[in-house]
Structure formats: C-alpha cells, structure tokens
C-alpha cells in the first residue's frame, strides 16, 4: 500500500511529462495544462497521506525498496526511497507550491506555441525534485540533483531561439556541474569511510566514535566536498553567478526552480547529512562565513539592479546565504524554517513580478514601470505582503524565520550577526525600491503599453493570493518558544534542538531587526517616493554604484581567470600539441622516405659501382670472419 502510494507520488509527474511530450501537441493547451497540474496535485495529495501517517507514527519513516541499482565491490546502491519527516516536509512545499505554479503557468504560458513542452519540462522537474528529496541514499539524491539541473537547463533556455538565453542555460548547467563534481567526490569519500551511501548506514557510522576518530580528516574533506556541491546548486559564493542569469527562463520557472525548490536542494542535502557536518566544525564555520558573505554580497548587488527579476534573483541568493549561515551555525531546523517561509514569499514575489511582466508584455526594466498599483491591485497587495514578509516585518513569516537566524548568529558569533543584519537592512531597501518603482508614481512605459495595462486573470491571481496568505501566516509553524517545526523534525536529530526562549536579548534583537528593516524601507521611501528618483541609464552609472551594477565584475573576473585561459589552452593544444603529435608520427614515415630518397643516389646505375660494393661487402665479411 505505502509502496504503491510512494510510487504514485514519484511517478505521477513523470506520467504528466510523458503525456505532455507525446500527446501534448495533439491534446490541446487546456488539456496539457490540466494534466500537468493534476499530476503534481496527485503527488501533493500522496504527500499529504504520508504526512498524516508520519504524524500518527513519528518514529516509523516509510522506506520503499525497489531494486538493486549500482553494485560495487564493497556495497550496493539500491533504488529505494525514504519518507521521513524531512523529505515529507520538503515534498509538501515542493508539490504544493509546484501545483500552484503549474496552475499559474496555464494562464501565463497560454500564448506560447510550445506550451506542452513547457509543462513537460516542468513536470519532469517536479519528478526529479521528488527523487532528490525522496531518495534513501546519496546516489538517488544525485539523480534528482542532476535531473533538476537538466530541467533547469531546459527551462532557462526555453526560448531557445535567443542565444543569450541559451548561454544563460549553459552557464547554469556548467556551474552546477562544477558543484556536482564536488558532490560526487564527497560521495566517494563518504562511501569509502562509511562503506555505504545509505543515509541510515551513514548516520549510524557517524555516531560510531571509533570510526569517526580514525577518519576525521576524511570526514571533514567529505563535508567540504558536499558543501561545494551545495554551493553550485544553491548559488553560493563562488558559484552563484548562474542564478541571476537564469532569470532568462519564463517567470514561473524562476518562481518554482530558482526560488522555491531547486535552489534549496543544497540546504536539504546539508540538513540530510547533518550528522556528517556536525563532525566537521571547521567546515560548519566555513559554511557560516560563506553564507553570510553571500548574503551581504548578493544583497548589495541587488541594491542597484533595474531588472525586476534580477532584483529578486539577487534577493534569492542573499536569502539562501542566510540559510547557509543558519546551517553553518548548526541550526538546521531554523534553516529549514527559513527555506519554507522563503519558498512562500519568494514564489509569491516571482509570480507577482511575472504578473507585472505579463501585463507589460515582456517588459522587465523597472525604469519603464511605475504606478501599477491602481491597475493591478491584487498583484500589488499580494506582492506587498510578501515584500513585508521578506523584509522581516512583524508578524509576517519572514520576521520569524529571519529573526531566528539572526538570534542564533548573535549567540554564537557577533560579526556574523552584524553581517546578517546588514544584509537584512539591504533586503528591506531593495525590496521596497522594487515596490516603489513598480507600483508607485507614474507609469513610465510607452503609451502602447499603458493602453493595454490590466490585472491578470484569475488563474494567475489565485496562486498569488494563496501564496501571499502563506507568506503572511507561515511563521506560525515555528514560533519562538513553541515550535511545531522543531517538534516535528526532532526524530531526525539525535541531539535535541530546543527553540530559543524568549528572553530579553531575543526581544531586543527583534526590535533591532525591525528597526533595521524600517530604516531600509525609510531610505527607499525617501529616495523613490519623496524625491521621485528613477535609476539612471546604464552608461551614466558612476563610482561604487557602477561596480555594484556590474556585480563586482565577478563574471568578468571568471572570464579572465577561467574561461579565457581554457579557451587559449584549447587553442594551444589544438594548434600546437595536436600538430606536434601528428607530425611526430608522420616523422617516422618522413625519415624512412628521406632515407629512401637519399638511397636512390647510391643506386646510380653504374655496374662498376655495384661491383665495387660487391667486393667491399665481400671483403668486409671475409675480414671480419678471418682476420679479426
């Protein structure tokens, strides 16, 4: 029974994918959208079944063992699934938000000729994401991990006629693969140390002190490698640059893949392997530092971006950084908490921005927007709620989760807290900058666009409303002092993580955070509402703003440091090494030929010379044999 439902859970989106690939063109757009959405909904309902089962019996996670997959000398990798608290939680919001976004896409992609492909890819993505989450070992996770990367590639380059989009897709795939190599090496080390890749076996091994102390160096290395994998997928320094570019894809994709689900895979994996990371405190420190640095770096870039989706993208990177900060501090459940709230409000924001873009027929530059508040009230209000949530305004969800992270940081490391707080203030600023530029003031686009402005249809606004509600109340699942989430996740962790008590420090910090957010909002208000500023054109950008606008020139630096040398090397190999090797082989032939040519001189046709050679040959043989 459980096995069958689990299979339904996994395979429903896959069948959706197959249907849309093979019959999508004939079936018509409505049916395509319906099947695509329904298949994810089925998964969501199946997840709910497991969720309730798990709530009834928290200590009994469901394991579904299918068949032996890869066999190696020391261990086998089975194709099997694990449905415990963590995976079910993840599945809930992956399939839940997935359903909403599918619904949204029905309307959003309706005019695209390849709508069936879009839904196929989206279904496939959900399928791989479920694999990633549900796998009972690291290799199944890796299937999902690479699979979602592939879908991400396909969806970013969905409009494949545009080579810039294709470049972005390629960049995403390749940067992910750099991380994947790290993950793979991490897998090998784990397999080597623990003799298995199954979570259960590894976790048991991780509590075996003998094993651990013998291999502490390797374990730290494994943790590092796994983290490298996570930096790729979850867009952390140094592999974050693909995510902003990935906004080339259709907006629902950005919402689903590049905000709510796929990019959180890194956090999922680290949480999954927390027992391993717990054994490597130095790596945890590194994670915290990288997370904090990413948070502030991305936030600072976000300050000056003019593309509405780019702002959100950098915001996502920044928020992911905060999650890693939490992970690095060992507060896994807090990171998970932030993942969930972030999924709600960021998905809402992206979908909202999609709604705006939809209304403006593809316009993404905020300098050409403005004043949309009146025309698109639902979009405006849902986005406003989410913006308040992300800025950490009481009592919306973001307030609780972000506050938890900062609180933890404050308790363990003040500089990290400061960095995190700065990132939060910046977040508040650029989010409100976004809101002001988009929805307030006068419309700055063309007359043509203005004429067509409209609120989006119900299929688009409905998911927005749902997500906005979730963004508002999502914090309830883990209120300080009485955290349902901590309680729910407790079976995962051997050492209990108690929620912070609400003491004076906590209240003080909450206050500080709120004030910080308000300061950010205030600056944005004064700049864009009071002074009615509009960001200057790209070329007029000066000073540090220009550096920020150009993302600290990181892409250019990567180009100079990695891409160009690689190209040059390839050129060099092709033009010199290949030729050299080839000529070396030919040289043997050429030498033989050259000797042959020279030899022809000896063969001069003169009998006298021939006889002379005869006599000399004979004489030398006789001399050698009888006189030497």
């Amino acid at each position: 029974m459980e096995k069958n439902i689990a299979l339904v859970l996994v395979l429903a989106p896959f069948f959706g994918f197959l249907f849309n690939v093979f019959f999508g063109k004939k079936a018509g757009k409505t049916l395509v959208g319906l099947v695509g959405t329904a298949s994810v909904l089925v998964s969501f309902l199946s997840t709910l079944f497991f969720f309730s089962a798990l709530n009834a019996n928290p200590s009994q996670p469901v394991v579904v063992d299918l068949f032996q997959w890869i066999s190696l000398e020391k261990f086998n990798v089975n194709f099997s699934f694990l449905l415990d608290q963590l995976s079910v939680l993840w599945l809930l919001f992956v399939t839940g938000i997935g359903t909403l976004i599918h619904l949204y896409s029905i309307s959003y992609m309706h005019d695209d000729e390849n709508m069936n492909k879009f839904f196929a890819y989206l279904n496939l993505f959900v399928f791989f994401m479920i694999m990633l989450v549900m796998g009972s070992n690291l290799v199944i996770l890796f299937i999902g991990w690479e699979g979602v990367g592939l879908c991400s590639y396909l969806l970013i380059g969905f409009w494949y006629k545009n080579q810039d989009y294709n470049d972005a897709a390629k960049k995403a795939f390749i940067m992910n693969r750099i991380g994947d190599l790290g993950l793979l090496v991490g897998l090998f080390i784990v397999a080597y140390v623990f003799g298995s890749l199954d979570y259960k076996v590894i976790s048991e091994g991780a509590y075996n002190t003998q094993l651990v102390s013998n291999n502490s160096g390797l374990i730290a290395l494994a943790a590092l490698c796994l983290f490298i994998g996570a930096t790729g997928k979850s867009a952390q320094i140094p592999l974050y640059t693909w995510l902003p570019d990935a906004m080339a894809g259709p907006t629902p994709v950005s919402a689903l893949i590049h905000a709510a689900t796929m990019v959180t895979a890194g956090i999922f994996m680290v949480t999954r392997m927390h027992f391993l990371f717990d054994l490597a405190p130095q790596i945890l420190d590194l994670i915290a530092i990288v997370g904090a640095a990413t948070a502030v770096l991305a936030a600072s870039i976000g300050l000056v971006q003019n593309d509405i989706k780019k702002v959100l993208a950098y915001s996502t990177v920044s928020q992911l950084g905060l999650m890693f900060l939490a992970l690095g501090l060992g507060a896994y459940e807090i990171a998970v908490f932030h993942v969930i709230t972030h999924a709600f409000f960021k998905a809402c924001l992206f979908l909202g921005s999609g709604s705006v873009i939809h209304a403006l027929h593809g316009e993404q530059d905020m300098r050409n927007m403005g004043g949309l508040r009146k025309v698109m009230p639902i979009t405006f209000w849902t986005m406003m709620i989410s913006t308040l949530a992300i800025s950490g305004i009481f009592p919306l969800s973001g307030f609780w989760s972000k506050d938890e992270i900062l609180l933890t940081a404050f308790h363990s490391n003040i500089p990290l807290w400061i960095v995190g707080s700065i990132a939060s203030i910046m977040t508040a600023f650029y989010m409100f900058r976004l809101m002001y530029l988009t929805f307030f003031g006068e419309f700055r686009g063309t007359e043509e666009q203005k004429h067509h402005l409209h609120e989006s249809p119900a299929l688009i606004t409905f998911p927005l409303i749902v997500l906005a509600i979730l963004a508002a109340v999502g914090g309830l699942i883990s209120l300080p002092g009485n955290s349902w989430l901590n309680h729910y996740l407790a079976p995962l962790f051997r050492k209990a993580h108690e929620a912070h008590h609400l003491d004076a420090t906590a209240y003080a910090l909450m206050a500080v955070a709120t004030v910080g957010a308000l300061i950010g909002i205030g600056i944005a208000y004064s700049k864009y509402i009071k002074k009615q500023e509009v960001p200057v054109q790209d070329a007029e950008m000066k000073g540090f703003a220009s550096v920020l606008y150009h993302k600290y020139y990181v892409d250019e630096a990567y180009d100079v440091v990695v891409v160009t040398p690689l190209k040059k090397l390839s050129h060099f190999f092709r033009n010199y090494f290949e030729v050299a090797f080839s000529e070396t082989v030919f040289a043997f032939g050429k030498i033989a030929n050259a000797i042959g040519t020279q030899g022809k001189v000896l063969q001069n046709g003169s009998v006298g010379f021939y006889l002379l050679a005869f006599v000399i040959g004979m004489a030398s043989i006789l001399v050698y044999l009888f006189l030497v």
Binding site: S71, E73, I143, Y153, R177, F188
Partner: protein
C-alpha cells in the same frame, strides 16, 4: 550450439551480401546482422542456463595452435554489443546510397565477424588474427567510401592503418615470446606462466603499444580525429562504437592478467596517461569546428576514463570499464548518427554552418538531446553507472585521480552543450531541414531505450559480467 555459429553467420553473411548485388545488399546485411544478434542472445541464454558455448579444435600442430574460444560473461557482453551495434549501424545507413553497396555491406559484416572473433578467442594466435583482420575492412570502408579531400583522406587513413598495425606487431612479438615460454598460446596456459618482473615489463609495454594506439590513450591518439572525420559515418560508428572496445577489452582480458606484476608496479604511469587523455581530449574538444572531430575528441576523453578504470586493477574499475564500454558504444553511435543525419540534410560537418535545427525539427532535437545528456553522464542514463563506478574506483587509488578525471563531468558538459547550442539552437537555419524519417528515429529510439533501461536497471549486465571479472581480478592478484 557453440559460439562459432555467430562467426559463421557473419562470415558467410558477408559473402552472401556481396553476391546479393547492390540493390539487395543492405537488406541482406540487416537480416544477417539481426540473425547474428539473435544467435548472440541464444548464446546468452545458453550461458545463463549453465551450458558452455566454448569450442576448441586443434588447428596447427606445429607450432601448437588451437581454434579455441572462451565464452564467459564478459565475452558474451561484448559479443552482444558488437552484434547489436552492427545491426543498428546497418539499419542506420538505410537512407544512404553507397556506390558498390554490396562491397560496402560485405565489409561491414566482415568487420563485425572479426570483432566478434576478437572478443571470443581464447588462443592468442587466433585472437591476433581476428584483431588484425578487423583492421582491413575499416581501412577500405574509410578509404573508398569516405568523405573529404581524397589526398587528405589517404594521408589520414594510411597513417591510421600503419600506426595501429605497428602497435599490433609489437603485441605479436610479445605473444611469440610468451609462446616460447609456454609452448602454447591458449589463454589458460598463458595465465599459468610465471614470468619475471623484467619479462612482464616488456610484455606489458608491447601490449600497451598495441592497445594504447587502438583505444587510443593520450598521446597515441593522433590518428583518431582525422580518421573519424574522413570515414563515412558507418565506418566512424564501427570504429568508435566497437573497435575502440577491442582495445579496452584486450587490456582487461590479455594485458592485465598476463603481466600483473608489471601492471601493479607501473599502474600509476598508465593511470596518469589515461587521465591526461580525459582532460586533454575534453579541452581540445572545446575548440573544434568540425562536428565529427569534436565527437572524436569527446570519445578520446571518455575512453581515457574507461582505460583509467581498467588500470586501477580493481573489480570496481574493471566493472565500471565494461559497463561504460557498452554505454559508450551506444551513445557514440547515437551521436555520430545525429551528425550523419545533419550531414545528410545540410551536407556539411562544419558546426558554423549549422544552427537553428531545433526549430525545424523538434523531434530530432529531443532525441539528439537525450543522447547528448547521456554522453555527459547524466544520472539515470547508462553512462552514469559506468562513470560512477569508474570515478569511484579511481578515488580508491587516489583522490586526485578522481578529481582530475572527474573534470570530464564539467568539461564534457561545456563542449557538449556548446556544440548543441551551436548546432541545434538559435534562429532557424536558412537551409531547409527535412524532418527526421521514421527509419532514422527508430535508430534513436532503440539507442535511447537501451541507455535508459540499463541506466535504471543495469543488473542484468552486471550479473553477466561480474563472475568473469572476478576471475580476471583473481588472476591479476595471483602473485
């Protein structure tokens, strides 16, 4: 029934194809290759039922030489690969109009015959004969039916032939030496030899020359790219899909067990060379303008990894190598077939002249895409299983081997995606691109089905090859 039936089918099939005339040749060739595949499956069943398919006849009494075959799981796997791919390759060429088709298809079947023979031979002499025989047909296929400038082609193909022959002759010398020690060339008797380390070193080296050129391992690969480019696609597929595997198979079957001491002592040299090949091939592939050449260099990278796995001397490495050999066989045939399909329509191999094909034929684009992601080892495809085992075995030798060898994951994605982008994506090509035919898509469907099925369920192959490989590992570790 013993395995000679397959050889007989293919050999007489080649003759029958020749006498069938130009019109019927391809049909006859397809029937024959299909028959050989069915026979291979029958042999497989027999093997699974525990019945031996070996044969042994005295051939030459002085010196002591047998017609002998040893059909273990490994040989059966390679035999199945050969016959299956031959069928696919013949089927894939149905749309081509070859001059003198009877000669062409006869040579294809003859080559298949020789390759099957190489895989099943248990007498070194017989093995060597088949090994060399396989070279003749491909030489003519490439030379007579090849494309590109004739002078350039001659240069490349003759180089290929002489170069590979040169390597093989050193292998022959090694066999002759072994014969002088053992008094027989039966593989089982050669396994019994106790050679000194010095002797093993030279024998290993002689084998290495032959195999490194055939596989090819860096820096012995210089014949590869040009030969692939200038051969007709059928020839390229035969070369890259099956013939390369002859070299890799021979490493596992002959080189390692016959000179285990040398293999262990000098393992690192060969690992390093193989891994350099992985990185080097990938980097060179980045800047190729010719589609088939690019695929050739990607092949260099892939087989480098396979060779590296074999040289780890571990069960994981060998198993990964065999799995990847099979997977790579299918993938590379698929890739070259995609190149062939494009060439049929656009008459070019230059990537710069392609582009925008996906808009014109999405079906083809999807299938090409699946084969491409399989070639970069996406999990869920057969290639991932092989790559995973290979890299894991490399890790067990040294983490740096795994890391550097693993760059193939990254670099492979780089050049493959770049290629795909330039070939398939972008604005529509100005030239017309006729939609892929049913016959063409069937080839892809079969290849993709194999790749996905065994990607998810490699157990049948695993169970088939593991006992044989365990035996070989035991031979390697006998000292």
């Amino acid at each position: 029934m013993n395995v000679s039936i397959i050889l007989i089918i293919l050999l007489f099939g080649a003759l029958a194809t020749y006498f069938a005339g130009d019109k019927l040749a391809k049909t006859v060739a397809l029937v024959i290759s299909l028959a050989s595949f069915v026979a291979s499956v029958a042999i497989l069943n027999q093997h699974n039922a525990g019945i031996s398919s070996d044969f042994i006849y005295k051939w030459i009494s002085n010196p002591n030489i047998y017609l002998a075959s040893k059909v273990d799981g490994l040989a059966i796997a390679m035999m199945l690969l050969t016959t299956a791919l031959t069928t696919i390759i013949v089927w894939s060429s149905f749309a081509n109009q070859f001059k003198n088709a009877k000669g062409f298809y006869a040579l294809v079947l003859f080559m298949s015959f020789a390759m099957v023979g190489t895989f099943v031979s248990a007498d070194a002499f017989l093995y060597y004969i088949f090994w060399e025989l396989a070279l003749i047909p491909i030489y003519f296929i490439a030379l007579v039916w090849g494309n590109g400038d004739v002078e350039e082609r001659k240069r490349a193909i003759v180089k290929f032939f002489i170069y590979t022959l040169a390597g093989s002759l050193f292998m022959l010398t090694a066999f002759i030496y072994l014969f002088s020690k053992a008094g027989s060339l039966l593989i089982d008797e050669l396994y019994l030899l106790r050679l000194t380390e010095q002797e093993q070193f030279w024998i290993f080296g002689a084998f290495f020359l032959a195999y490194a050129i055939k596989i090819p391992i860096f820096p012995f690969h210089t014949w590869q790219a040009n030969t692939y480019q200038l051969s007709p696609s059928v020839g390229t597929m035969l070369l890259s899909g099956i013939m390369l595997k002859m070299g890799l198979y021979s490493v596992i079957r002959w080189q390692l067990p016959l000179a285990p001491l040398a293999a262990k002592t000098y393992m690192n040299i060969f690992l390093v060379l193989s891994i350099i090949g992985v990185v080097y091939g990938s980097i060179v592939a980045l800047k190729q303008h010719n589609l088939k050449k690019l695929l050739a260099y990607s092949s260099l990278a892939h087989v480098g990894l396979i060779a590296a796995g074999a040289y780890t001397l571990s069960l994981d490495g060998l198993r990964g190598a065999v799995l990847q050999m099979i997977a790579h066989g299918f993938v590379v045939v698929g890739l070259f077939f995609a190149a062939e399909i494009i060439e049929r329509r656009l008459n070019t191999q230059e990537i710069a002249q392609m582009g925008g094909i996906r808009i014109l034929d999405t079906k083809f684009a999807s299938m090409f895409m699946i084969v491409m992601v399989a070639s970069v080892g996406l999990p869920g495809t057969f290639n991932f299983i092989g790559e995973f085992s290979l890299l894991y075995s490399l890790y067990n030798v040294d983490i740096w081997y795994a890391v550097i060898g693993g760059t193939t994951i990254i670099l492979g994605a780089v050049y493959m995606l770049k290629m795909f982008q330039n070939v398939m994506l972008g604005e529509a090509n100005a030239k017309p691109f006729a939609a892929i035919t049913l016959q063409e898509s069937l080839v892809f469907v079969i290849i993709i089905a194999v790749l996905l099925f065994f990607g998810l369920y490699p157990k049948p192959i695993n169970d088939l090859i593991t006992p044989a490989l365990q035996e070989i590992v035991a031979k390697i570790n006998r000292v």
